[in-house]
Amino acid sequence: METIIFYILAAIIILFAVASVTSRKILRAVIYLLFVLIGIAGLYFLVDYNFLAAIQLTVYGGGIIVLFIFAVLLIHHVELELEKTALKKKLIAGALSAAGLAVTLWAISTYPFPVTDTYTSIEVADIGLLLLSYEDGGFILPFEVISVLLVAVMIGAIVIAKGKKLTENN
């Protein structure tokens, strides 16, 4: 059953990813991307990383996709279509991507991963404690750096998006 669900999710992810990078209606592309992200959240659910899945849904679904939609709403009209990409460029890009994929898959298939069969349940508290741990292997510093970064980004985004007006008033 989990196998079936995985394959369904994989199909969803790959199909919508392809749709997302080829669709010529921009908001559709965004929605396809959302489906890909939801599919990935499903993957997280499947491996019992519920917390991560919820984060994926909240941040990507509720945050980043909404940002994308807002951007589209601000600068695109429903009747507009995206420009077609030149066939030559598509071919080159496709060939390159296929070559890269081939190399990667080859590398993956030849590498013997030391898979372990043990199963440990993941608690939210464990992640929280690890993030805030200041002992060896703890992530308190990157965690705080990320929080500072987010504040900086928030301010920066406001300043940049406000653009001219802000500077004119100064």
Partner: protein, 639 residues
């Protein structure tokens, strides 16, 4: 004894130049003139004190000592280095006195002459620059330092000749002077390099060491066309002197240089800069005398004699009073050159050397006086040509008297300064080279003739209809005239042989009565002829010139030297050499360069498409590269 204070003598004009030059817009004219005169007066006083100090106390066992204060500047090898410093010996002290005296007088004179000119302050700053450069040249301790100041003198001369830069003729004259002297200086530089390469030194002291041992050793080192390299070096150095001193064949710039203000002509083109060539030969005299038995010195003598004769001939026919004086200067410098050329080294044998320096001194005084007097006349009638002048003795008594004194002095009238110095030269020539002696006597007569032709034309002759009645010049101009007139008489009574000699040992010089009588009688004959021709307006001179016909025209056009140069430069250099050179430059040199450029541009146009500015394209190359590298790495890893 300490002579290090002499460094102040050139530094005061330098400071003046900086102050007047940098703040020329701020300093009012009334102050700048006084400032310049005051500064040069200080230098003048200092150099007089130096002369007194040196000639009274500078002797050690009857030989004048050489004092050198110097600082090493550029080091090439242990021996070969360029120093900057001060050299004190009889001729440099003498030159200091001459330069500061004339410069001081010219400063005083210019306050009146340049009054009301727009560039008044600028003029004084240039004068200060020139004084500094000339003093630096005189006090140089080595060839290279001398060359530096030599060029500085050329540059300031350029500035002063082109002072009226709104006049095209002045600009052209400045350019001409600069280019001609530059060409000659090329020889000077080559000579310096040649000599320093073979001797390994720039220092005057090493080059002129009294024993002459080193010089003899160097002379044998290498030879070219039968002469030692050292002789060739000396001749090349002398070429620089020929250029600066307006000897044949580099004399063509001097007449044109009269476009500058008259005080400038007095300072630069009569008394100081043009004698730099003489000074240079005198400075290197032992080298000239000892190397190859004095072949280079022979060259000096003949160049001087020929220049002297030719210049005197040309001077007879000219009508522009400043040009007459210019050719006269050339002629007199030729005298000094030939005196050096016929001189020997030791004791009374070195009479020519002493005579040359003596004549340099007296000539500076009376020739500066002549120029300043001419300036005074020009100031009064606003013209350079004799046809606009006449009977000026009534209007300008002081100028008239001082000019007469100077003319008598240059003509070698007994009792005046020129008589004594010229007599010494003739004695030296008579003792060594009869041919040069006869030519010199002829030049003496010609000198007296053209000088009095000038005198009578200006101050006697017909009374022209002047637009403004000419009047005597202001006090600021007449005081220098009077002072220089005094010097033109008194200068002759200085016992020069006690001070300036080739081997630095004083000796007693006597007037050779028969030779002096011949010379003065020749001069007096010249004066009388001039009196007959020009005292009253008459057709006599015209008849004579018509009688000589072609020769007169030939001489009147300065032997067609300018035209010869033009032919050589325009037709030969520009027409044939430059044409083929420019063809080569355009088609071969430029062609290859442009070809390289074109290839580069076309290649760049081809490959600049890669730099499309699109992040995606860059990322594509990046990923492609990574894929290739990964493939290679995996291939190696597996195999």
């Amino acid at each position: 004894m300490d002579f290090s204070y002499t460094i102040l003598i050139p530094l005061i004009p330098l400071a003046l130049f900086l102050i007047l030059g940098l703040f020329s817009k701020k300093i009012p004219a009334s102050i700048s003139g006084w400032l310049g005169s005051l500064g040069l007066g200080t230098s003048f006083a200092l150099s007089l004190y130096t002369a007194y100090h040196y000639f009274m106390e500078g002797k050690l066992e009857g030989v004048y000592q050489t004092f050198i204060y110097k600082q090493t500047w550029l080091v090439f090898t242990d021996k070969l280095h360029i120093d900057l410093g001060v050299l004190i010996d009889p001729i440099s002290v003498m030159m200091m006195v001459v330069v500061t005296t004339i410069s001081f007088m010219v400063h005083l004179y210019s306050r009146g002459y340049m009054h009301g000119d727009d560039g008044y302050t600028r003029f004084f700053s240039y004068l200060a620059l020139f004084s500094f450069s000339m003093l630096g040249l005189v006090m140089a301790t080595n060839l290279f330092q001398m060359y530096i100041f030599w060029e500085l003198v050329g540059a300031s001369s350029f500035l002063l000749i082109g002072y009226y830069y709104t006049k095209p003729s002045a600009v052209a004259a400045a350019k001409k002077a600069f280019i001609v002297t530059r060409f000659a200086d090329l020889g000077f530089l080559l000579g310096i390099l040649l000599i320093s390469y073979y001797t390994g030194t720039f220092d005057f002291q090493d080059l002129t060491s009294q024993e002459g041992m080193l010089i003899a050793g160097w002379g044998a080192s290498a030879s070219f066309m039968g002469l030692s390299v050292f002789t060739w070096g000396l001749i090349l150095i002398y070429m620089g002197g020929v250029g600066k001193s307006a000897m044949l064949p580099f004399h063509i710039w001097l007449p044109d240089a009269m476009e500058g203000p008259t005080p400038v002509s007095a300072l630069i083109h009569a008394a100081t800069m043009v004698v730099a060539g003489v000074y240079l030969v005198a400075r290197l005299f032992p080298a000239f005398y000892f190397v190859d038995g004095g072949f280079a010195l022979q060259v000096v003598a003949y160049v001087g004699a020929i220049s002297s004769l030719v210049a005197a001939l040309i001077a007879i026919t000219q009508t522009d009073i400043k040009r007459i004086l210019a050719f006269s200067t050339m002629s007199q410098i030729g005298y000094m050159m030939l005196a050096l050329g016929v001189s020997k080294y030791e004791g009374h044998e070195g009479l020519g050397y002493m005579a040359s320096m003596f004549h340099l001194f007296t000539h500076a005084m009376f020739k500066a006086l002549l120029f300043l007097g001419a300036g005074s006349v020009i100031h009064a009638v606003h013209s350079n040509y004799m046809k606009d002048m006449g009977s000026l003795r009534k209007y300008m008594p002081i100028t008239h008297i001082t000019f007469l004194i100077a003319a008598l002095s240059i003509a070698g009238f007994p009792g005046f300064a020129g008589f004594f110095s010229k007599d010494e030269i003739l004695v030296a020539a008579f003792e060594n080279n009869k041919l040069i002696y006869y030519s010199s006597v002829l030049v003496a007569g010609l000198t007296a003739f053209y000088m009095f032709r000038l005198y009578f034309n200006i101050f006697w002759g017909e009374d022209r209809k002047y637009k403004h009645t000419p009047h005597e010049s202001p006090l600021s101009m007449t005081i220098p005239l009077i002072f220089l007139a005094f010097m033109s008489i008194a200068g002759g009574y200085i016992p020069f042989s006690q001070f300036v000699t080739a081997d630095l040992m004083p000796f007693e010089a006597h007037i050779n009565i028969p030779l002096a009588a011949i010379a003065s009688s020749v001069g007096i004959i010249g004066i009388i002829i001039a009196f007959i021709f020009y005292k009253k307006p008459s057709e006599l001179s015209k008849k004579f010139s018509n009688a000589f016909g072609v020769i007169y025209t030939f001489i009147y056009n300065k032997l067609y030297f300018d035209e010869l140069y033009l032919f050589v430069t325009k037709k030969i250099l520009f027409g044939i050499v430059a044409f083929s050179a420019s063809w080569f430059d355009k088609n071969v040199v430029d062609g290859s360069m442009i070809g390289i450029g074109n290839v580069t541009v076309s290649v760049a146009n081809k490959i600049k498409g890669m730099q499309s500015g699109k992040l995606q394209d860059y990322a594509m190359s990046f990923v492609g590269g990574i894929v290739v590298i990964a493939m290679v790495v995996f291939y190696i890893w597996i195999s």
